[in-house]
């Protein structure tokens, strides 16, 4: 029976729960299971296609430049558009994992040539960005390849960041962060409704989720490294405030999952969360990364969890490094917050033990 047999009991189970109204296309399901069995996308295979695609596009770019393609902007534009179209065609026509590498390399190459061509034509930077974002957005409807869709989402977010930077409107990074934080929370918490929506979002769900994690951490990093954007710190509280509110909202949901009913415990949890996050009112990166960690763990999403933890470690180190206190004050803050965490660890362990005994 192999993998095809694996899904049968689940189908029966769903049928019994959903009742007579449940209909499904058995042939299509079996076909897709078979396809999946022949090529289950594995994390390491995806990484291979992405890195292979990037390396190959660098080699091809070298080839085209030695040939002197840069001498003709029209040729660059045409070749660029041509390659993007070919990459769409290939990944759409041959819906298989092994087409990913060639698809990705042609897509990257095409995009680089397209952008370079427009630059040589001296097209306005904003128009170039909007054009590139439009191609990214359009590709979401045309191609249903997870890696290309991931790139497309990244291009859209990256385009927004480019617009912010090239127009020197650095404070708009806060709406960027807030928008991405809301989107991330919505997507993570509404997986079921997105998967069952009539808009056919099933194939876009994974790329969207991963891209949101990447784009949010990119936006958050911009607030950490001050030489990247010239940001006024006086607006930082806006992002932080919203992020902390979303964080508290997720904590509320978490308390429900953990079946915490006692008012006193709830109060303690909220107090602990607020007190821990209070010092980050001017460092939105930290509540942002914490939000990613919390949401990713909630929905059991490992890539998001790893990126969240790595960002959190980096942001926390940078936060203390940049803090304008003497090392002694920093030491006291770190040491005492460390002790508070340990105290809560002991408190939690004891509490769980007494619960188990009951």
């Amino acid at each position: 029976m192999g993998k095809l047999g694996d899904i049968q009991p689940h189908l029966e189970n769903i049928k019994s729960l959903e009742g007579d109204s449940f209909t499904y296309d058995e042939q299509a399901i079996l076909k897709e299971c078979e396809k999946r069995n022949g090529g289950k996308s594995n994390f390491i295979i995806k990484i291979l296609s992405v890195f292979g695609g990037i390396l190959a596009s660098i080699a091809f770019l070298g080839f085209l430049f030695i040939l002197g393609l840069y001498e003709s902007e029209v040729a660059m534009l045409m070749v660029g558009i041509g390659l993007i179209v070919v990459s769409f065609f290939l990944t759409k026509k041959f819906d298989a994992l092994i087409m990913d590498t060639i698809g990705i390399s042609l897509f990257i190459l095409g995009m680089v040539l397209f952008i370079a061509g427009l630059f040589i034509f001296e097209v306005n930077e904003n128009i170039i960005t909007i054009l590139v974002m439009t191609i990214g957005f359009g590709s979401l409807f045309v191609v249903h390849n997870p890696i290309l869709s991931f790139f497309a989402f990244l291009i859209i977010s990256g385009g927004l960041l480019t617009l912010i930077i090239s127009n020197d409107m650095y404070s708009l990074i806060h709406p960027y962060i807030i928008l991405h934080a809301f989107a991330l929370t919505y997507v993570f918490l509404n997986e079921a409704s997105l998967l069952t929506s009539d808009l056919k979002l099933v194939n876009l769900f994974d790329p969207l989720r991963t891209a949101l994690v990447f784009s949010l951490s990119l936006g958050l990093s911009a607030t950490v490294k001050n030489d990247l954007l010239f940001l006024s710190k006086s607006h930082f509280w806006i992002s932080s405030f919203v992020l902390i509110l979303i964080f508290i909202y997720v904590v509320t949901l978490l308390l429900k999952t953990l079946n915490v009913e006692a008012k006193k415990t709830k109060l303690w949890v909220y107090l602990f969360s607020v007190l821990t996050l209070m010092p980050t009112l001017f460092a939105p990166a930290i509540p942002g990364a914490l939000l990613m960690v919390l949401l990713s763990f909630k929905v059991n999403y490992k890539t998001g969890l790893s990126i969240g933890i790595l960002s959190l470690v980096y942001f926390v180190i940078q936060y203390y490094y940049d803090l304008n206190y003497t090392l002694l004050t920093k030491s006291i803050i770190l040491f005492s917050s460390g002790l508070v965490f340990l105290l809560f660890y002991v408190f939690l362990t004891k509490n769980l033990k007494s619960n188990e005994k009951v």
Partner: protein
């Protein structure tokens, strides 16, 4: 009935009218983190945050270099802390994980002790002898606590000690020779980490740790060989080349034996990069660059096809 995975849920969603509530219940019941995993996660998070913040606090305290604190007091405080942590780890009745975390904290404090020593006696904190001393003096704890995070610190310290020694003392070592040494050392370490637990019937090391060391070794060999190709051939290059060939062979065999896609992907990927560098060394004209591009796309595509075949074979 086995638990359903996300992939199946998505397939079912795209070809049926499965209701939102049904999907939500399945996700919450079978995919999302339940009460038990949340409790484990929160406990671990608080312990990790607590220990790292406390140790960082101690580190910052000594970095402040308090002038009024006598040098004996400075060194004495850290030494007392180290002794205290180890005593608790050995004698206290607590969970093994907490004991291991305490030994890890003590091991980091040994580094702080050396840094303070360097600060007091003005010897500089990045002298290779400090890292050598740090590595040596925690090695017994590393061995006996057998904690992956502590092993990771130990391996990192070994690498740093070698690199600093080459920078500060061994001027006659070429960069390639150092790379060769580092590759050899990390490869031998992996062999040890895989074989020793089997021989002594101990629990195996976690996968992330072994793969991290393997990745480090492969990064060294890939960078060493691909950059060595462009230079005049020297004995270190051939030594690295032969060692890499040997260990890559062993790695592929091990990957096939343990059904691990990790080794079967990173080793060929390294070979593809090295071969591309060799092709570029032959000629850097347009035709060759085109050929390299084609070579990369074809070889990666074939590699992925092969990996998928193995995966299919192993799953059925």
């Amino acid at each position: 009935m086995a638990k359903i995975d996300r992939e199946y849920i998505k397939i079912l969603c795209s070809h049926s009218n499965w209701s939102e509530i049904g999907v939500r219940k399945t996700l919450e019941g079978q995919i999302y983190s339940g009460v038990a995993s949340w409790q484990r996660f929160l406990k671990f998070l608080l312990l990790a945050l607590g220990v790292s913040f406390t140790v960082a606090g101690i580190l910052f305290f000594f970095a402040y270099n308090w002038a009024e604190l006598h040098k004996f007091a400075k060194l004495g405080i850290i030494e007392t802390l180290i002794v205290l942590l180890i005593l608790i780890a050995v004698f206290a009745k607590t969970k093994p994980l907490i004991k291991k975390v305490l030994v890890l904290a003590a091991s980091i404090l040994v580094g702080v002790l050396y840094a303070v020593f360097g600060q007091v006696y003005q010897t500089g904190a990045d002298a290779y002898d400090f890292f050598l001393g740090w590595t040596l003096f925690i090695s017994i704890w590393v061995l006996f606590s057998n904690f992956a995070a502590l092993w990771a610190l130990f391996v990192a310290l070994l690498n740093v000690t070698f690199i600093l020694y080459a920078e500060q003392l061994a001027y006659e070592w070429s960069e390639l020779f150092l790379t060769c040494l580092l590759f050899g050392m990390n490869s031998l370490l992996i062999l040890g980490f895989i074989i020793i637990p089997k021989v002594f019937k101990m629990p195996p090391f976690p996968l992330w740790f072994i793969q991290l060391v393997a990745l480090t070794a492969i990064v060294f060999s890939t960078i060493g060989i691909s950059s060595g190709i462009f230079e005049k051939p020297q004995p270190s290059f051939w030594a690295l080349f032969l060692m890499a060939a040997l260990f890559y062979g062993v790695g592929i065999w091990y990957g096939l034996k343990t059904k691990s896609l990790f080794y079967l992907s990173i080793i060929p990927f390294s070979v593809i990069i090295i071969l591309s560098a060799a092709l570029l060394d032959l000629s850097d004209e347009a035709g060759m660059l085109f050929a390299i591009g084609i070579f990369i796309v074809t070889s990666i595509t074939l590699l992925i096809k092969m990996l998928l075949n193995y995966q299919k074979k192993w799953e059925s």
